[in-house]
Amino acid sequence: MAGLPRRIIKETQRLQADPVPGISAIPDEANARHFKVEVAGPVKSPYEGGTFHLELFLPEEYPMSAPKVRFMTRIYHPNIDKLGRICLDILKDKWSPALQIRTVLLSIQALLSAPNPDDPLDTNVAEAWKKDEESAIEEARQFTRQHAMGNKPQQ
């Protein structure tokens, strides 16, 4: 395999020098295409106070294909399933090579602030969300307290 493309090196440098507020992304020492990501639950969301661990991987075709991102911390969210998979258009058909790791992380943060039960990945959660938003939000808070507080990154 060829060396790390200049674009990935630069993106990593810029993420380090000018991080997204509330998000840290640190490349794996063994594999520079692999990032350990921590997202702070956005204020005024049911995830506030939680720290969510994610895994971000840049495939060989990056930036021609989107980064692969997955929640490692359990989260109660209509667009994120039990396995941590995320339903986000820019990670799928709306991906563009001009997008970056930074834009992906910002979009995930935004998704936590504004769950979209009309485009669900976990239908159960989405149903609950649509039927009774208040208790769904309470459930999300409960999940956050249980899984996303005082947690250590999984190995």
Binding site: M1, A2, P5, R6, R7, K10, E11, E60, E61, P63, M64, S65, S96, P97, A98
Partner: protein
């Protein structure tokens, strides 16, 4: 008779037309119409002295409207374009190296849009120019719609960053233009003046203000501004037009004629200049003094312009010495030559950042005096000065010397000077004039192009170090300095290579998602020239580094298969065989990239391996190189690639690059044939070839047709099967055509001996024969 003359005139037989008119005048007596026809015939025939003589008679005999002078105007323009055609190419080369300058208005690019051919113009200028012809490269864009092209984002941002004052001035100018349109010329002038205070080297501001002063009948101020425009951009036709209008307004018609002719010498398509040229000529011709030598003398002394001299000499030859008259017209031509010459040699002044003025205070005095009021002798000197190559190093444009050089000693000649002028004229032979232009232009031309190569683009301006950031010219796909930047219709710029790669995957712009289907269909990869020029001029070191990286990448690709360390690209699909054609339909993004890389690196070949399992990374251990003979692209980016089999190889290691498979390989060839066994081998070859033909003959017609359509007819047998390292072609043709399993084909491909291959083929044919019977 007159009909005959008209007919001769309309068939461009001007000599005959003139002859008939002359005879008719002799027979029927003088009439205005006849003299006009005669004058037109002389003018179109290039005999201007006689033409003016005839025009004057026409004017004395009756009323002649300005429109009637259209043939004179045409003839004058024709004679101008003949003289200036030689310097056209040079002008082009100057235009090409512009970075921030719009060729249409010669100003700083304002709302820049980049069109298909890679050239960039102000949006307004492009909208106004209805020719649909690129003024830089001459390409006609029939479907050009400026409204559908968005602003070139990178360039626009850069211009705003580097020239904030000029951009502010452009905004003020736009405000001024609004008031101008509302015919509030005084408010317009206020805005133009404010803009000038920010950017006093912008000729467009002076031009617009001159226009506004003209509208207010303040012709002296209009002229002052127009003179500045002409001085700043002697290559801009409109500047001379503005000057002509002001002079016309001031009643200085002779000078107006010259100014309009200068405008037309630079661009003979300016309709309004033609119109005003005929108006001015009309005024000049109408104002002729009565047939009184003394009145003429007084007139000449009161207004000793060169054109007056020209006109006077044309109308009353007896008062002037005959040989001067021809000379005078030559001088007029010389002015036009100078105009064109100066325009094509003109280099915009370097500026220290934005807003710095190249116009020196003491130059203003020089400007007030029209350079063409000088005596002819000084004009000769001016040429000598001009023949010093205009090199930036020797004397920066805008310096006092260059101002002096351009406008040598232009003082209004007093009466005493006029006398000496007369004597000098007399002493000068007309022929002295002729060799001037070729001798002084040619050495200048080559010196200039050298200087241009060294100093880069013609509109290079000094930009302060802290504004120069290579990140402003970074491709948002590869995060490197643009390499061969292209710009999409949506105004986004990328390296050509990067955008191509994106379009392998999706036909929308990576930045804004606009459709690029049309862009792709046109297979447009024309570099955005001004971005390239900016990179070369301001980021030379970075550019050289970037070029080196690109070349290394290409060289790396070109080394494929050179040794076992340099991997070959592998297309995992089917098997190819030496010398057998293999057409491929390329649609997968990764293979589109692979084909492009093959073509760009010049290798024009790649490995073809069979896919033997669900996991294509486990491609076959043996394969065949396919050599690209032709690529045909479809509008959507797919392509049809015509290939033919080349060398065989054995896979030593598998890897991936840019999404496709690669392999370290060793190339195979047949073992040499022992001469002792050659006859035996030849016999075997002969038998198998016959068996194969028998098998072919027994095939149904449909099958036979399909085979010949795909693979052609069976190649002839090689008399000496040992000459080719791959063995005889016909055998590979058979292996490709026979209905056998890929694994069997693979085994045949891997064999290193022709004899072994023949024996295997024999078994296959026997098996097929049995199955058939």
């Amino acid at each position: 008779m007159v009909d005959l003359a008209r007919q001769a005139f309309s068939t461009n037989n001007f000599g005959l037309a003139a002859e008939i008119y002359e005879r008719t005048i002799k027979e029927n007596g003088p009439q205005a119409d006849l003299y006009l026809g005669l004058a037109d015939s002389f003018a179109r025939g290039g005999q201007f002295t006689k033409a003016f003589d005839a025009y004057t008679n026409a004017f004395r005999l009756g009323r002649v409207t300005p429109e009637k002078l259209k043939h004179l105007v045409t003839a004058l323009i024709e004679s101008l374009s003949q003289d200036s055609s030689s310097s056209g190419g040079q002008q082009n080369s100057m235009k090409k190296s512009c970075m921030f300058t719009c060729v249409l208005c010669r100003g700083l690019l304002n709302d820049p849009v980049t069109i298909k051919c890679g050239h960039t113009f102000c949006r307004k200028c492009l909208e106004r120019d209805r020719t649909k012809t690129c003024k830089v490269c001459g390409i006609v864009h029939y479907r050009l719609k400026p409204a559908n092209i968005r602003t070139n984002v990178v360039l626009s941002n850069l211009i705003h960053k580097w020239f904030p004052d000029s951009c502010r001035a452009a905004e003020l100018k736009a405000e001024g233009n609004k008031f101008f349109e509302k015919r509030d010329f005084e408010r317009a002038i206020k805005f133009y003046s404010e803009a000038i205070s920010l950017s006093d080297a912008d000729h467009l501001l002076f031009s617009n203000r001159s226009h506004a002063y003209n509208a207010l009948d303040q012709y002296d101020k209009a002229l002052e501004d127009a003179e500045k425009v002409v001085k700043m951009r002697p290559d801009w036709p409109k500047g001379f037009f503005r000057k002509g209008l002001a002079l016309y307004g001031l009643g200085r018609y002779e000078e107006a004629v010259i100014a309009f002719l200068q405008c037309l010498a630079l661009d003979k398509e300016v309709t309004s200049a033609k119109e005003y040229l005929s108006k001015s000529l009309h005024m000049v011709l109408s104002q002729l003094p009565p047939d009184d030598p003394k009145a003429l003398q007084r007139q000449r002394e009161a207004n000793p312009s060169l054109f007056q001299a020209l006109v006077n000499s044309n109308f009353n030859i007896s008062t002037f010495l005959p040989h001067i008259t021809a000379n005078t017209f030559n001088q007029l031509k010389q002015i036009m030559n100078d105009t064109v010459e100066e325009a094509s040699n003109f280099m915009p002044p370097s500026q220290a950042c934005s807003g710095a003025s190249p116009v020196l205070d003491d130059a203003k005095d020089l400007l007030k005096v029209s350079p063409y009021l000088q005596e002819p002798g000084s004009m000769l000197e001016k040429h000598r000065c001009n023949s010093v190559p205009v090199l930036k190093e020797t004397s920066p444009p805008g310096s006092p010397e260059s101002v002096l050089r351009q406008r040598s000693r232009s003082q209004s000649p007093d009466r005493k000077d006029l006398e000496t002028q007369g004597s000098r004229k007399r002493s000068r032979n007309p022929s002295v004039n002729q060799p001037l232009s070729p001798t002084h232009s040619s050495p200048q031309k080559c010196l200039r192009s050298e200087a241009e190569e060294k100093s880069g683009a013609s509109d290079k301006k000094a930009i302060s170090e802290d504004l120069l950031s290579v990140e402003d010219l970074e491709c948002s796909l590869c995060y490197r300095l643009f390499y061969k930047p292209v710009t999409t219709p949506c105004g986004h710029s990328f390296c050509c290579e990067c955008l191509d790669r994106c379009m392998d995957h999706q036909t929308s712009c990576p930045m804004c998602k606009s459709s690029l289907a049309e862009y792709l269909a046109e297979r447009r990869s024309t570099m955005t020239e001004c971005l390239q020029a900016i990179i070369v001029n301001y980021f030379e070191k970075e550019y050289i580094d970037r070029q080196k990286i690109h070349e290394e990448e290409i060289n790396e690709l070109a080394k494929m298969g050179l040794d076992t360390q340099h991997e070959i690209p592998v297309f995992v699909c089917t098997l190819g065989f030496p010398s057998v054609p293999c057409p491929l339909h390329i649609f997968e993004p990764r293979y589109r990239l692979m084909i492009r890389q093959c073509m760009e690196s010049g290798t024009r070949q790649f490995g073809m391996c069979a896919c033997l399992s669900d996991n294509e990374e486990n491609f076959s251990d043996y394969g065949c190189m396919l050599e690209v003979r032709d690529v045909h692209f479809f509008a959507d980016g797919r392509s049809l690639v015509d290939t033919v089999g080349g060398r065989r190889f054995r896979v030593l290691g598998r890897s991936k690059r840019d999404g496709y498979n690669t392999a370290k390989v060793e190339f195979l060839s047949d073992d040499p044939v022992d001469q002792a066994v050659l006859p035996e081998l030849q016999q075997l070859q002969h038998d198998i070839y016959a068996d194969m033909k028998k098998w072919l003959d027994r095939l149904p017609a449909v099958h036979k047709a399909r085979i010949s359509q795909h693979f052609g007819t069976i190649p002839t047998m090689d008399p000496n099967p040992s000459t080719n390292p791959n063995g005889p072609h016909w055998a590979w043709w058979c292996i490709a055509v026979l209905p056998i399993d890929t694994r069997v084909q693979l085994a045949l491909l891997a064999m290193g001996s022709f004899k072994e291959r023949l024996e295997a083929m024999k078994k296959v044919l026997q098996y097929l024969g049995k199955r058939h019977s």
